[in-house]
């Protein structure tokens, strides 16, 4: 490790060598400690997600707030199936119970009403909402992102590039809450509500949210695709030009196939960003997890549901509180898999040129 040790004795620095070595070892220890602390964060994420999720599926939860929104007294009093056990504690009638949610209900039902009565916990409306908004966003962002990247990579002069890059960075730096405001007050009324051919579009719509999420990920998509295109060896491009190819033919015939692995990875990363978006969807697509395939409707994504559930202050260990973790686990697994996939795509489909 320490280079100083390999140097002949008479060439060593004149300072106190033993002291130097102690400092060196101390520094390495501290740095190692800091470097591995990041692993603790990951462990923390997994632990904080997994434990309450297991509770969600296996444990009866107690909620000592008689009147909270998620499991109401009335339901326990009328002896709903979930809450019938509350009758076991005659004198503690304020205690309300919710039975564990069955795995088959979570993945088998299309009703998601965690906050009404005893609650219904079918996650499909959230999954479909997520897919619809992701699809809309990708229709907006993928072609135009690749288009801007082609422009920057093959058409723009150095000066234009130096001007455009910072502008795109500015757009990339716009906070999501600003995009959310934009979706609600501009994209919704001026675009989503005017140009949707299939029925009416309300104030809150998956369409407005999806378009805006697409605009939000556009600069990221562009940057990643541009990087992938820059990795294509110049000699390939020059060869094509020498054979008489036009700029367009270079783009579609050389850059696109040669940079395909990186561009596909860029798409996957951008989409995983779209899936995890909370604020825009929460502001623009409303707060109802509607079971629908119509983009004109209100809808919730997995991520926006988590944000929505977090707004209300719910008692710890209530089923409503635990949905945050159950849905969070699902979201984490999906985005994690997408990121793994993007890495695999890069490795698997890379064209080797050297």
């Amino acid at each position: 490790m320490s280079l100083a040790l390999d140097i002949p004795t008479d060439l060593r620095p004149s300072g106190n060598i033993r002291k130097q070595r102690r400092i060196e070892r101390g520094v390495v220890a501290i740095l190692l400690l800091i470097a591995t602390s990041g692993v603790l964060v990951t462990t923390g994420i997994v632990l904080s997600l997994v434990a309450p999720t297991i509770d969600f599926f296996t444990e009866r939860s107690v909620s000592d707030y008689g009147g909270d929104d998620f499991v109401s007294i009335e339901d326990s009093a009328t002896g709903g199936v979930r809450d019938s056990s509350a009758l076991d504690f005659g004198d503690e009638s304020d205690i309300v119970y919710a039975e564990p949610v069955k795995f088959t209900e979570f993945f088998g039902s299309t009703a998601w009403y965690p906050q009404y009565g005893e609650g219904e916990f079918g996650v499909w409306p959230l999954i479909v909402g997520t897919l619809l908004i992701m699809l809309t966003a990708s229709i907006v962002a993928v072609p135009s992102g690749i288009g801007v990247a082609f422009f920057l990579n093959q058409y723009a002069s150095d000066r234009v590039r130096r001007l455009l890059k910072p502008i795109l960075e500015l757009l990339a730096g716009v906070p999501t809450v600003v995009f959310g405001y934009f979706a609600l007050n501009f994209i919704g009324p001026n675009i989503a509500q005017r140009f949707w051919p299939f029925g009416d579009v309300g104030i809150y719509s998956g369409l407005a949210a999806g378009i805006t999420v697409g605009l939000m990920i556009l600069p990221m998509m562009t940057t990643l695709a541009d990087d992938a295109m820059s990795a294509v060896p110049r000699s390939l491009v020059e060869g094509a030009v020498a054979l008489g190819a036009t700029r367009r033919e270079v783009c579609t015939g050389v850059i696109l196939p040669a940079g395909l692995s990186g561009i596909m990875a860029a798409i996957i990363i951008a989409l995983s960003r779209a899936i995890g978006e909370v604020t825009i969807v929460l502001l623009a697509a409303g707060s109802q997890a509607v079971w629908t395939f119509n983009l004109g409707n209100e809808m919730q994504t997995m991520a926006s549901y988590i944000g929505f559930a977090g707004i209300g202050d719910q008692p710890v260990d209530s089923k409503g509180y635990q949905t945050i973790f159950a849905v969070g686990t699902l979201l984490f697994i999906i985005t994690f898999s997408l990121n793994m996939l993007s890495r695999r795509v890069v490795r698997r489909f890379r064209e080797e040129y050297e």
Binding site: L32, I34, V178, G244, L283, A303, G307
Partner: protein, 295 residues
């Protein structure tokens, strides 16, 4: 994989080819226009809505349920508290991690691979998941800090850490090996080399990356929704155990209000937020351009 050489060379002068070339360029222009128009429309519509609200009262009044005497003072201070804290803490951790990985660890060692993979994983985690982590670990049980400035700063620190680490590693990688070798040849130890040669040379890159990381923390709203910062707080934070709100969340809350009067408030808040963020971005760009040293 597919053959790149699918270019037809027989019709070099055909009309159809020229036509397709022009059509393609038009499509690219439209894509670019979409990006530029988005930014322009977003800024202009917000300015139209918000500029009339921008005055001293807006900056000095506290948020309240009544639109006519609402301002952003506590959110402004909350944002400063949370962002500065998470910026400083994550910079320390990012520096330590990046220096270890780039300058000390053997690139084939298991620790290096584990930590590298871990950072990539963390960078892909949606921000709301950090909110869940903050809620479960910092606000509640193990740390039990409650809905406070400290919890928010801790959560945002974890969120921006991977971004800062990646940026710092890039900055260290950009320092040429010859600089290190020269230092070793003169008898310096590894740490002396890092501290006296590599770090000073990497300062501009690290600064740029840190500024971008801090901007992320400043504009972030999703994880803080889970941390209970979504309220009209009518006093400034006094310490890490204070209640707080931040500017993005105040904008969020104003945007969700049904009353029309809140909309200009949200727009004015956005103008303040964007002004700070654009200034930070500009600073990062200037630092990067100024320090473009060719080694």
């Amino acid at each position: 994989m597919s053959q790149p050489a699918t270019i037809s060379l027989t019709d070099t002068t055909s009309q159809g080819r020229r036509f397709r070339d022009v059509g393609f360029l038009v499509a690219l222009w439209l894509s670019l226009l979409l990006a530029l128009l988005t930014l322009a429309t977003l800024v202009i519509t917000t300015l139209i809505d918000g500029v009339p609200m921008l005055n001293r009262d807006f900056l000095t009044f506290f948020p309240s349920p009544f639109p006519e005497d609402s301002g952003i003072q506590s959110a402004l201070f909350g944002s400063i508290w949370v962002t500065v804290t998470s910026g400083v803490v994550s910079l320390v951790f990012a520096l330590g991690t990046a220096i270890y990985l780039e300058e000390f660890a053997d690139s084939r060692s298991r620790v290096q691979r584990l930590v590298g993979l871990n950072i990539q994983t963390l960078a892909g985690v949606p921000s709301i998941v950090y909110g869940i982590l903050g809620l479960a670990f910092v606000v509640r049980a193990p740390l039990n800090w409650g809905f406070t400035v400290g919890s928010a700063a801790a959560t945002l620190t974890m969120m921006v850490l991977p971004i800062m680490i990646v940026a710092t590693r890039e900055a260290l990688k950009a320092v040429p090996p010859s600089l290190r070798e020269g230092s070793y040849a003169l008898g310096a130890t590894r740490w002396q080399t890092v501290y006296r040669q590599v770090l000073p040379a990497a300062v501009p890159g690290i600064a740029t990356g840190s500024i971008l990381g801090v901007s992320r923390a400043l504009g972030e709203s999703a994880p803080l929704i889970l941390l209970g910062a979504l309220a009209y707080v009518s006093y400034n934070p006094t310490g890490f155990d204070s209640d707080f709100t931040v500017l993005p969340l105040l904008i969020f809350k104003w945007s969700t209000e049904v009353q029309e009067e809140f909309r200009p408030l949200a727009a004015a808040g956005i103008i303040v937020l964007l002004a700070v963020l654009f200034a930070l971005n500009l600073l990062a760009i200037i630092i990067r351009d100024r320090s473009r040293v060719k080694w």
